[in-house]
Amino acid sequence: MSPPVKVIGALGSTFSHRVEAALCLKGVPYELIQEDLNNKSELLLTHNPVKKKVPVLLHGDQAICESLVIIEYVDEAFEGPPLLPIDPYDRAVARFWADFMDNKLLKPFWLAHWTEGEVQKGFAKEAMENLALLEVQLRGKRFFGGDTVGYIDIVFCCLAPWLSVIEEVTGMTVVDESEYPALRQWEKEYNSYEALKPCLPGRDQLVAYFTENKEKYKMYANAWAQQ
């Protein structure tokens, strides 16, 4: 019998959702342990001493950290439909877009919603240029990988359940439907994908969470904008 699988995650964390989505799509049952990020647990600090962050996957007594590393681990350690493509070149392309999300798009996308004034305008411009590249990738496709949700789709999940939530909470719109019709359609498809239903965060829950923590997120955003 396979050792038990647990995810140390946090509501509101897109990185945490990536891991749950990967396990969901692979058909791996798991226990979710919700972390209070204001008061990090011994469990988290013991299993991620280097970064002290969520998500962490616990597979028996082994801990795996960093969401992209975890997704590839899930793909390799468990039976089930493949998350990444099989062909080496296609895998390189998929990993490229994951890297693009985390190292090029995430910061301007997030900060374009959470900052204000000239700073916000700068991030919005950068985000929109990067989003345009994704719009092109999606044209004519239901998901980034084709007809089913795959690796790239779950990596881009902050553009799905989170997008309309942060738009509502911040009052900011960057991903205009008229300019990014394919992306907004993809958002709808992702949010209604049957196989992800067990792990999709509730919209009301997310809105409540970000509303409650709005000032904190604005503060984090301003600090991140300085770096």
Binding site: L68, Y89, A92
Partner: protein, 225 residues
């Protein structure tokens, strides 16, 4: 298609530790390739066509198809050329060991180069902060290595490929931070020596004094004393 040529080409810059990761991987696998030095001040059509999103080196072209980002290139080399002529895989077979290798490669990617850049570029308080962070990073790597021969254990692998090129930068970090890597992280230095004994590493790393010379040149260009 970015290029037309058959076979492997590497668009690279001589002192780049990211490019050297790819050179080491290609060498470990015994793969012949054409090395194309790039002028980063005047980027070539080929580079801009091959990496339009980032416009950066390294880029591996395989039968004209581009692969970008050094760790992605190393994984591609490992996956596209499995067990060629009995050459071992760079990533181990076990999924947990693979995850550990990827974690440390990612750690170095996110932390080491940027911190190093701040260490040589900045002065005063900011430089002291960079020094503090650099020591923390090096000590973390030293701890992760433990008493292992390589980051993956007995065999030289993915994490070692990812981190080895930065050993040529230790001298530069030491001189700017006024510390000794050997004193602070003896296991890391011993590991660096072991890596340096491998032909793939020895022939592809820039000698540390040349890295230091390069950084001094960069500082002059930026008007930093």
């Amino acid at each position: 298609m970015a290029g037309e040529k058959k076979g492997l080409q590497l668009l690279d810059f001589w002192v780049s530790p990211f490019g050297q990761r790819c050179r080491i991987a290609l060498s470990e696998k015994g793969l012949p390739y054409e090395y194309l030095e790039q002028d980063l001040g005047n980027k070539s059509e080929l580079l801009l066509r091959s990496n339009p999103v980032h416009k950066k080196i390294p880029v591996l072209l395989h039968d004209g198809r581009p692969v970008c980002e050094s760790l992605i290139i190393v994984q591609y080399i490992d996956e596209a050329f499995p067990g060629k002529d009995g050459k071992p895989a760079l990533l181990p077979a076990d999924p947990y060991a693979r995850a550990q290798a990827r974690f440390w490669a990612d750690y170095v990617d996110k932390k080491l180069y940027d911190c190093g850049t701040r260490l040589w570029k900045l002065k005063g308080e900011a430089q002291q902060q960079a020094r503090k962070e650099m020591l923390e990073i090096l000590r973390t790597l030293d701890g992760a290595l433990g008493d292992g021969k390589f980051f993956g254990g007995e065999a030289f692998g993915f994490a070692d490929v990812a981190i080895a090129p930065f050993t040529a930068w230790f001298l530069t970090y030491e001189r700017h931070g006024e510390f000794s890597v050997e004193e602070e992280c003896p296991r890391l230095v011993a590991w660096a020596k072991r890596c340096g004994e491998r032909e793939s590493v020895a022939k592809n790393l820039t000698p540390p004094e040349k890295v230091y010379e390069f950084i001094c040149g960069m500082k002059k260009r930026f008007g930093i004393e």
